[in-house]
Each structure stands twice: as structure tokens, then as C-alpha cells.
Amino acid sequence: MEKKRILIIDDEEDILSLVEEILKDDYLIEKANSPSKAVEILKKDLNFNLILLDIILPEKDGWELLREFKNILKDKEIPVAIFSILKEPQDMLKAIKEGAVAYIVKPFEPEGLKNRIKEIFEKL
């Protein structure tokens, strides 16, 4: 079976490399370290199965970026999972309102992250 593609958006290079390291055996990973980079990638290539989006980002926050994606993606639906250190109910509620499919709280255990991503794909 062809590997699924995931776009990870996070401004911390360490996190990007760590997530890539954890997931690269099972998925094809693309990384973006800023909102503008993410938009640039998506304008050229919409062929992703999942977007993993951090909320606290430079330039604009993840929520704003999520709304911008809707314009770029138009009718193509790429599920977005939120990936954040914010863990108040209000933040998770916002994720539901904005149409995200999952909420992964940082920091995470490598095995835990693997399982969560697997679970997300099973339920999609």
C-alpha cells in the first residue's frame, strides 16, 4: 500500500525533526516551519492525507492559518489535527468548532504519537 502523506507545521525545528523521526517509517513527511512556508507548500501541492498543525506560531496563529487553508483547499478536504501545548478545554472546544479531527497535546511519547496518528487514519 502506498504510504500516506502528512504535512507537519511547527515553528520549532527540534519538534519537526523529532516528529519526522518518529513517523517516517510509516508515512511520507513534509515539514513547514512557518505559516508562510505551509501556505507555499499547499499552493503547489494538495496531495496530503493529514495536516498536523501547531497553534502557537510566528506571523499568525494556527487558528487563523486553519481558516486560510479552507480558501486554499477549496473543495479538497485534507483533515487537520491540532498539535499543541495548550490543554485547556476552551482550546479543544475551539478545535471542534474550527473543524479539526483530533487534538494532540504536546509533549508526547513517541509510541503515543504513533498510535494517535494510526487511530486518526483508522477513524477517517
Binding site: P89, M92, L93, I96, A100, A102, Y103, V105
Partner: protein, 397 residues
């Protein structure tokens, strides 16, 4: 661009299409259908339930339109703004709308619990006026008219409220709370207020928001409290907990509420341990110290504290922990379709962990489906309530 909820085009995007059409047909009918008082209902039922009403309304109208009109008549549906509760239909002036409107009214009433307004207008082509302006103006006039209808409804509601207080026309119903982990064992009952049947004030959210507006909250709270405690004496067994709602606003002001509560229990010979006072976390807390003082006064007298609407309110978990609650009620909006929503599951897991840490029992509210119950059990929730388990029931005084 299309409106996300209804899937209908937005007025601004099809304005040229409408303009051409009016200029060609010379006059058209415009039918505007709107769910009124949307903010109250969105707050009462949660945004996703409200969105589903708007979507059902749009779907119903789409189907009715296909049945009623021929493709040649080219009926056109759109909405004015994204996320609005208003749907517009343009169709030829030659089509008599009377029967269609009556039928639509009936079907909407069956489908949606909120009041809706349906208004018919015509838009005529006038060579001396900009057609776009006529369209916008007509739509805006109808919007204003609907706002007026809403405020008329509100003033009727206010006089109804005054009558309710004058005549003590409040009924208390009880909804069982169950231990859901193994068998379905009754754990307690939540007392819920009901205004006169069939009126706009039958459900508690409307009742209490009108009371708040009229500065009558404390009177209503005391009336409900007395009726709840009195009727609770008729419940099957002494051992069950009684959950009594009170607005946290009352507990944040200097009032006689807490002392009188203890007096009431004493008069009715109800043990304080039986009572769980339930306050909502939906509104921001402004006077934390007074709230805490009142809660401590009750806790010293063995009354337990439950926090309602956990997950959808303003307070951080830290603030909630400081109130030292014995129960956390996980909001029904977050229980709705939890089996299909991973974030709702994540949030519940977090609330469960938090409950364990502060030694509070978590009760899931608004369970309406078997799948929801199964998921809640799987995640480890031990207590629950909702229509799927039992409807609230009336107890005679």
C-alpha cells in the same frame, strides 16, 4: 463561495445573477425564512445542534422547492451572510405562493423547536433605480421586520414571566442520574424547572435568561428551590442525592440565599448530605471571593458542590479546582456524537484525569444514543444522565 452550514450561495456572490433576472422578468417574489432568537437557542442547545437545525431547515427548503417549482421557473436559493439563520428564495411572480408557504410553515414547525418567521416580498424592476440596491434594501427591510417580531415576542414573554412569579406557576421535574459503569443503578436526581407547558418559558434557559433581564433572578431561584425541595420528598427513596441548580450569579452577591437554603432543608427535614448544589461554569466568574465564601458556608454544612457545563465555559481547570467541587458535569454538547469525534473523546479523557486528581466524580450529561453511552463507558465515565437513559419525570406535590 458557499455558506458552510447550508451549502447555499451567498447573496454577495450571486448579486449579478439576481440583477439580470429581475431586469429580465420585471418582477419576482422573494421569500425569506429565518430562525428567530437564534442566540438564545444556540446557547441553550450548543452551536452544533443549532447548526444542524439551520442545515435541516435548508435541506427541507431545498426539497420543498424541488417539489413545488418546475425547473423552467428557476427558483433560486441563497443566504445573506455566512453562518446566518436566514434563507432566501427567489421565484417568478406568476407562481402563487400561498399554498406553498402554508405547507412550508407546517413542515418547519414539525422540524425545528425554535420559532421561525416567513416573509414574502416582491422586488420590481425600476429603470430609475439600481436593481442591486432594491435587492439589498428589500432583504434588509425584512431583517428589520424580523427583529421587531423578536422584540414583540420578548415583551409578551416578559409579561408572561411576571404572571409566572405572581402565581408560582413553576413545576419541577426530576431527571435520574445513573451509575452507568456496570448495571444502570440510580444515583440521584437533578431537579429541573419548567414554566407553563407550551409557552416560550417552558424550558429553563429561556426562563432564567428572562428572569436575569428583569432583575428577578433571586426570586425565581428561591421559588424553584422551594418547589424542588418540597417535591423531592415524594421521590422513591431517601438515599438518593438531589442535584439542585443555582445560578452562580446568586452566590456571587451578598444575599440570603445560602442561609435560607439551610432553613428550607431544616423546615422540610431534609438532610444536608442529600443535597448537591449545582452551579454553571458557562459564565465568567466576577466575584470569586464571595462565591468561594458562600460555597464554603454550604460545604461546612455537608452540602456538596457540582459544576455544570464543564468543558464549554470560561473558567480554566485551575479555577474550577479552587472551588473544590465534588462533581463535574461534562457538557451535553461535548457528549453529542462523542463516538464519532476524537477531540470530544480527548477532552473527556482530560476532564476525567482532572476529576481524579481533585477527587471529583464526573457525570456525563445529555446522553441520547447508545453509541454515546458505549463510548463514555469505554473512556471510563461512571455516571451519566440523558434522554437515552431516562427522560425527566414529574412528581406530584
Amino acid at each position: 463561495m458557499k455558506d458552510e452550514i447550508t451549502g447555499l450561495p451567498l447573496l454577495v456572490d450571486i448579486i449579478n445573477l439576481l440583477k439580470d433576472r429581475i431586469e429580465k422578468e420585471k418582477e419576482v417574489n422573494l421569500l425569506i425564512i429565518q430562525i428567530l432568537e437564534s442566540s438564545i437557542f444556540e446557547e441553550e442547545f450548543g452551536f452544533d445542534v443549532f447548526d444542524s437545525w439551520v442545515k435541516s431547515l435548508a435541506d427541507l427548503i431545498k426539497i420543498s422547492v424541488t417539489k413545488e417549482f418546475t425547473p423552467y421557473e428557476n427558483p433560486l436559493l441563497f443566504t445573506t451572510d455566512p453562518f446566518s439563520s436566514l434563507i432566501c428564495l427567489i421565484f417568478p411572480k406568476t407562481h402563487d405562493p400561498k399554498k406553498f408557504i402554508t405547507k412550508l410553515k407546517n413542515e418547519i414547525e414539525k422540524l425545528i423547536p425554535a420559532p421561525t418567521a416567513i416573509t414574502l416580498r416582491e422586488i420590481k424592476f425600476d429603470p430609475l433605480r439600481r436593481t442591486e440596491r432594491s435587492i439589498y434594501q428589500t432583504v434588509n427591510e425584512v431583517k428589520i421586520e424580523h427583529t421587531k417580531t423578536e422584540s414583540r415576542m420578548k415583551s409578551n414573554i416578559k409579561s408572561l414571566f411576571k404572571k409566572i412569579i405572581r402565581t408560582s406557576e413553576i413545576k419541577m421535574v426530576f431527571q435520574p442520574i445513573f451509575e452507568i459503569s456496570e448495571e444502570k443503578l440510580t444515583y440521584g436526581f437533578e431537579a429541573l424547572a419548567r414554566g407553563p407547558k407550551g409557552t416560550e418559558l417552558e424550558m429553563p434557559t429561556a426562563l432564567f435568561s428572562v428572569a436575569d433581564e428583569l432583575n428577578e433572578l433571586e426570586n425565581l431561584e428561591k421559588l424553584c428551590r422551594w418547589k424542588a425541595l418540597l417535591t423531592s420528598k415524594r421521590l422513591p427513596d431517601e438515599k438518593y442525592k438531589i442535584f439542585l441548580n443555582v445560578s452562580s450569579k446568586i452566590l456571587q452577591q451578598k444575599s440570603s440565599y445560602v442561609e435560607e437554603l439551610i432553613e428550607n432543608l431544616d423546615e422540610l427535614q431534609i438532610k444536608t448530605e442529600k443535597l448537591v448544589l449545582e452551579i454553571t461554569e458557562r459564565y465568567a466568574i466576577s466575584d470569586f471571593d464571595t462565591l468561594k465564601k458562600n460555597i464554603n458556608y454550604l460545604k461546612e454544612r455537608n452540602i456538596k458542590l457540582s459544576i455544570d457545563d464543564v468543558g464549554v465555559g470560561y473558567s480554566s481547570l485551575q479555577t474550577l479546582a479552587e472551588l473544590n467541587p465534588d462533581y463535574l458535569k461534562y457538557d451535553m454538547v461535548l457528549v453529542r456524537n462523542i463516538h464519532e469525534d476524537m477531540i470530544k473523546q480527548n477532552l473527556l479523557e482530560m476532564v476525567l484525569n482532572f476529576g481524579e486528581k481533585i477527587k471529583a466524580k464526573v457525570i456525563a450529561e445529555g446522553i441520547e444514543k447508545e453509541e454515546e453511552l458505549i463510548t463514555l463507558r469505554k473512556i471510563g465515565v461512571r455516571y451519566g444522565q440523558g434522554f437515552y437513559l431516562s427522560y425527566p419525570f414529574e412528581v406530584e406535590i
